[in-house]
Assembly symmetry: D2
Homo-oligomer: 338 residues x 4
């Protein structure tokens, strides 16, 4: 961390600030130029708040050199993390495909879709029971009943399941869920992250619509700091000025997150554009850019889907796509074997 | 709501969709042009999901005419809502100033700051006990003890208090809090909004960093739909590409929110820019644009503040500002009397 | 400028880079910490490109301390610049109002509108002859004929005129124009800025829709570096995610630009929101935040305007607004006397 | 185009507006619902300005159904456009790679780099002579001399050349240039687009940093409306909130632009992230998403490059990348044969 002092900083105030920093255990290396004085702060600066320093009137600017994340930092853990869930590995060359409907709507629907996506080669089943919706008047998901239908499909197919949690109070309901998803709107719901940090569930953490990659990694760090290091990062499109599609997939997030962290990174091409016919090109691009997996919405009858119908693939469409995914994953040197 | 059908939509599929819409209680007015067919959907379309229609292959586009919010809609409630809290009115020409530190740090600090801001004319006391922080390693607030210190300051000064809630589980701790704040990062924490909708607390709802005004109003609608109509909207700066300050105050939000809704609208100029010397010009602009109140951070010693020091005013600075606020509020025709 | 070296930078490569920097006339102050080495670069670093340094493999990061602008920098010129145009001063406490139609459409229109806005108290006349339009099929302005009609209205009213230039080739046509406007889409049309830098025209430089304030100031610096220091900065709304209005007025730009530079700063509340009824609250907020002037669209018959009708005020509406503007400018301590 | 009238629109004013629209040659289909009246406007509405209608006080909203672009519209021209330049085809399954330095710096540099990229398989040579730079104090390119060095390298290698134009006045200097590039900051420099529309040069049009895809297509339409239909679209990264890299590559632009238009779409992965090691994953993703070509910066000595060194590849790095590009283009079914 570098502190740039104001050129007119009084000696007295400098001594006070220096004293405070030393009391916190830091060393200070001063460098005096013509127009400014710099202090290089040596020690674990991830615990100092930049604002704490900026509030001091003799401080002109504070610039971080060290990343503020530790457990998620690739520098501390150069090898890719490989997470194993119900015998399926993700990360480190292992590629997984999660598929299923946006919302769980009915028992038959779940069983039908889950058998179908399993036959096409999906290795995880997804489905939303608790649905975050912008409008209080929109369908909010089947809630507890939805969870039961999802777990029923898990038994029927043997596929591990992924579903979204919205509040720490619900955590006990997720006992048999394999991967707990934190949605984009809850990426900085810190109480939820802390609760998950104390659980033993694998967490699929989605990036917020207007969050930086560092903020995403800091949210993963919340979970990891609590003791739970099984975090999968998911890019699902960011908000931009573009109006022809719902969100803009940030493909660069894949290589950048992989350079910042050692965690697996997956892509949700269904939410990214919100348009069915764009799922395929975005899925291909994601594999090419180095993703460790995909999460794809599939619905037995998209036209009657209670949620996200425009982006849901039909079982037939998904089956054809899986053929291409398998070949492309292999071409880019990853494996879909468990 | 207008549905634009694809020009090649088959009669049969049109009949199926028409049947579904009629079954939901809607009337349909068809208008056939040369290149396209339009259906005007008549009825309470706030309950139909745009996506539900977009998923249908014969639908080219769906355009809303009616706003998706009802209880917050000024059309349903043309008069300004005036909320009264501990004898202080806000909205409908009544202007209030909320002041205090970002974080509650110690008993003496709270009492000192609260007496000081009261003497300067603030009518509400603010202070954070539960702090949402990007980093798990940053100061997270004094939590329950912080709440106690805030309530102690309430007793000492007689000022009603405003403080932030982060999760529904904490609601019972907020029994003696006058105004419960929902922070920007929790604007779409729908479980929290639902819990507040069932409470009798006045809610101060902050706009998310990258949310539209309609999304803010929809979050207010979540609270109101639950039965709690005491919602104050707060603009606190949005994320933009600007790097010279923390966030960009959206001053236009004031007149636009007042045209969309009947709820009081206040501004937080401290968080907006994150810079102490910018609080004054932004406060003046907010009054001029029609705000119903201000929320300002004041700290007895900003240089040692555990949070948001760079934007906190000193008690002396705040006192001088209050003089200008009073004159300006009067100039623009509002009243600061309770 | 601070260079943060990679912790594993080889001595040899450091010597090469140090040699290059010294050859460019810079001094280097080295500060060695535990995890990193910092170089403070002393000299006029506005001429070094950050990228030139970042390309070096031993460089981890480069952080600017000094602003990259000189002539526009308030540090070099602490007093407000006051520009005088046809006897009217702007800046340093002098406030001016520019009014007129978006596009010049016909001789009678221009004379009618210009007499009307003059009678209401506007001190400059605006009107577009060359119009930048997103569509090649939209009205592109009356071009040369439009300029003639504007200059005709200048003679008829005695008001100095403001109009937009789109390419350096047109500069000679602007001989009798008092203030040459550079539109938002041309803020980084550097050939145009260079040409204006060599002219003696006052330039009204509009901020681009997604440009930072530093980029705006750097574009002013282009003009000033050419020898023309008569530059007025204009904020006219930035692109954000908001959909209820055209652009979002960045009110904070006023105090921030005034702290960065000594140039006058004006606001265009008509383009900012693109909505007639929002002009008044945004104009009031702009005065309150410290603007040096306003540019407002007025049309004799907004419903038939060939451009920007939704945001144009009627002459009656403008007359009423001018009454409020006068009182508010006076309340905030500026003068509208020439 | 659909006009939504205000529910209280007076018959008289409706008749006036209807009369104006009919005079412009449009048919109107009225649809009356309970809360609103809709008019479907039939005819070539690309010539009506939405604002012209919005300015009318009886109009509540105006929604476009038809795209505002014609010549670029895939609906009017379902087949991919294939552009042939010096015997090389781009579009319709033909893939091209443009390579070379950001700036032309010296004769030997250009010859060295151009021979090298040709040997590696690049089929076009790029190099900047006129450089748009944010700072007037930064290197502005070798200008006319730079162009000469580029054309010299064209003769030496036989490769067609691509270089950027900044103002219409320079067009005659570009006589021997094969592809004229319009940079991101000039995407809406409409005078430049019009001048290029009248020329016979192939134009490589880059998307602006914060422009929508429709705006990009409208800028292509400006060129095409002038008679020049040889336009290649280029996505080069958009401005987002992300700070870990310069811009964010919008990979979705590829499939979306290809659905909107029939023009070739290429990607500039060098400018997108501004980071050398990210060029490869972004290039792979671009091919996978369906791009028709790539433009890549290569410099013989990136550490001394006068511009964009951090993103430039070395000749060796580019050679290795070309091997992967060839295999990947083939895997995804396109051809790199001329």
């Amino acid at each position: 961390m570098i502190i740039v002092l104001r050129h007119d900083a009084e000696q007295e105030k400098k001594a006070v600030l220096k004293g405070r920093l030393k009391a916190l255990g830091f060393d200070i290396h001063e460098s005096r130029g013509v127009g400014s004085t710099l202090w290089g702060i040596v020690g674990d600066t991830s615990v100092i708040d930049r604002d704490y320093l900026m509030a001091n009137e003799i401080v002109h600017d504070v610039k971080r050199v060290q990343e503020p994340y530790k457990k998620a930092n690739r520098k501390m853990h150069p090898e890719d993390t490989v997470i194993e869930i119900a015998g399926r590995k993700i990360g480190g060359g292992h590629f997984q495909v999660i598929a299923g409907p946006c919302s769980i709507e009915a028992k038959e629907q779940m069983v039908e879709v889950s058998k179908s996506v399993k036959a096409s080669g999906a290795t995880f089943l997804r489905g939303g029971a608790f649905k975050p919706r912008t409008s209080p008047y929109a369908f909010q998901g089947l809630q507890n009943n939805g969870l039961k239908l999802l777990l029923n499909a898990k038994v029927a197919t043997g596929l591990p399941v992924v579903t979204e949690i919205m509040t720490p109070e619900h955590l006990e309901l997720f006992h048999d869920v394999d991967v707990v998803q934190v949605g984009a709107r809850n990426m900085q719901n810190f109480q939820l992250l802390k609760a998950l940090g104390k659980s033993d569930k694998t967490v699929l953490l989605k990036r917020g619509l207007a969050n930086t990659l560092e903020e995403l990694v800091m949210s993963a760090e919340y979970i990891m700091a609590g003791g739970n290091e099984n975090v999968i990062l998911c890019e699902r499109g960011i908000r931009t000025f573009e109006t022809s599609m719902r969100n803009t997939l940030d493909i660069s997030a894949i290589p950048m997150l992989k350079s910042m962290t050692h965690l697996p990174v997956i892509i949700d091409p269904s939410h990214a554009a919100g348009i069915r016919w764009m799922v395929e090109p975005l899925a291909m691009a994601s594999i090419a850019a180095g993703a460790d997996g995909l999460m794809i919405e599939v619905h037995n009858d998209p036209e009657t889907a209670l949620c996200d119908g425009p982006q849901s693939m039909t079982p037939e469409g998904f089956d054809a796509l899986m053929g291409k995914i398998r070949k492309t994953v292999e071409f880019f040197g990853k494996t879909m074997d468990c």
